[in-house]
Symmetry: C2
Subunit: 307 residues, 2 copies
Amino acid sequence: MTIRLGLVGLGKIARDQHLPAIAATEGIELTAIASRNAGLPDLPYFHDVDALLASDTAVDAISLCTPPQGRFEQALAALAAGKHLMLEKPPGMSVAEVEALGRMALDKGLTIFATWHSREAAGVEPARAFLADKTIRSVRIDWKEDVRHWHPGQQWIWEPGGLGVFDPGINALSIVTRILPEPMHLVASTLDFPENRHAPIAASLAFRTMSGAPVEAEFDWRQTGPQTWDIRVATDGGELVLSHGGSRLAIDGVQRMAEPDREYRNLYRRFVELVGTGGSDFDLSPLIHVADAFLLGQRRVTDAFHD
Amino acid sequence: MTIRLGLVGLGKIARDQHLPAIAATEGIELTAIASRNAGLPDLPYFHDVDALLASDTAVDAISLCTPPQGRFEQALAALAAGKHLMLEKPPGMSVAEVEALGRMALDKGLTIFATWHSREAAGVEPARAFLADKTIRSVRIDWKEDVRHWHPGQQWIWEPGGLGVFDPGINALSIVTRILPEPMHLVASTLDFPENRHAPIAASLAFRTMSGAPVEAEFDWRQTGPQTWDIRVATDGGELVLSHGGSRLAIDGVQRMAEPDREYRNLYRRFVELVGTGGSDFDLSPLIHVADAFLLGQRRVTDAFHD
């Protein structure tokens, strides 16, 4: 049975990623759009999720790709109406609100999928398999990109809940928490805030794994020229390098794979599976690490940022 | 069988609260002390928890009342050695590290007790019972005290992980999360940082319950004169006031109880029960709300603070 999907939010990520991924995925079809600004030709259109849910247009599931601020009320409305739920990353603007949604979905027997698209990059599962029986010696994460290129004019990323440089950085954390064979926790955090912004533009983080290996991360939103999304893991069985955001994997310098981006297609295929089996996928550890980074963060003030 | 307890940390909270509470509790006895600075007459003394665990002095359980920074390694050592574990509040300096400890204790079949002493105040359980079938209309928390009186010369409270004004504020959050009949989540946070400190001296928080009732909290460490630790809950069945940190309860202005402080005795009695039944008590929601408050916090800089 095909899942009838209502897509809420029709911004950049929805147009760039969600629409083509939904169109390419069997078992799910786009049935309605809710967005404050725009609809699509030949599709029922609503101003917001409440209007969609109150309408005659039947949907089985809701996919939220609005900014994280305000997403809680939309998610709550979807679950209250008995709809399965898929959440863009980050799944909300606070840990507590997302935990509450997870409990509610569980209580109501609905699927909830807190997506982390970077975990679907081609190199991630092979990296996880390689590391499963290794001893981790150290991890180094460099996640450096140009915010002006990737978030042109998006003000919500600088507001509370928008996460600043952790909006991309949480992608790196979602990969690392998947591939490492043991949990890690933060021990030190330095955050650079532009003097005119309430969110950090750069962050320097030091974690430790349970067995004590250092995990260092450098996030920076001021990178022009080549962009860097690399994770290096030194182990007793060689050095693993995940680059290009996880789509390329090399071990001891030998390229193991380099595949085109299918992250969002994988997400929607997984959502169809989860709804079919009555399961959920709801790992908040990347968001928890970000909250910890703010909790423990030493704050430095840096140059003003202007779009 | 009496639990042989090793107490780690012999600072203000250990001397003021833990030692008398342990002495007054059946089923547990203080067997050893680990502390960098001081021991007690007639008790085996060790410089740190590792030395205690490596010694001939047998203990069944460890109670940690060191500052949260560095407590993870102590907790890990205790669990690795097969000891039951009791943690002062806050249970650690990050959410992720405490979650990792919880999973480890569960895996090893050991008791872990993340204590929230304010939940043991006399009015808390009666308040919880009163609110269980009520509709919450609004909640107001005022938690205002004089840091110079309560934390004389303690520098760790101002360091990352020391939480600043959330060190007392988390007590209020531990009560509210216990007595309200549904979860809440943060929607806005303002934090006041002294210009010479890395932790807030005041905080203004706005939460919502799942059904949308506002929960407002004002934390301030600059209160001289009378101290304020009050929680007011407006419901469809009357107004509840928990004051004096939870030890006094009034409903619609009628005093229901006012009992002396037995918080730490209750904690140790509960720990004895948990060890006896093989259970754990491990609710991180107060710490998660604090992490969320930093994650979403709008930061203001205020006057320098000097002890």
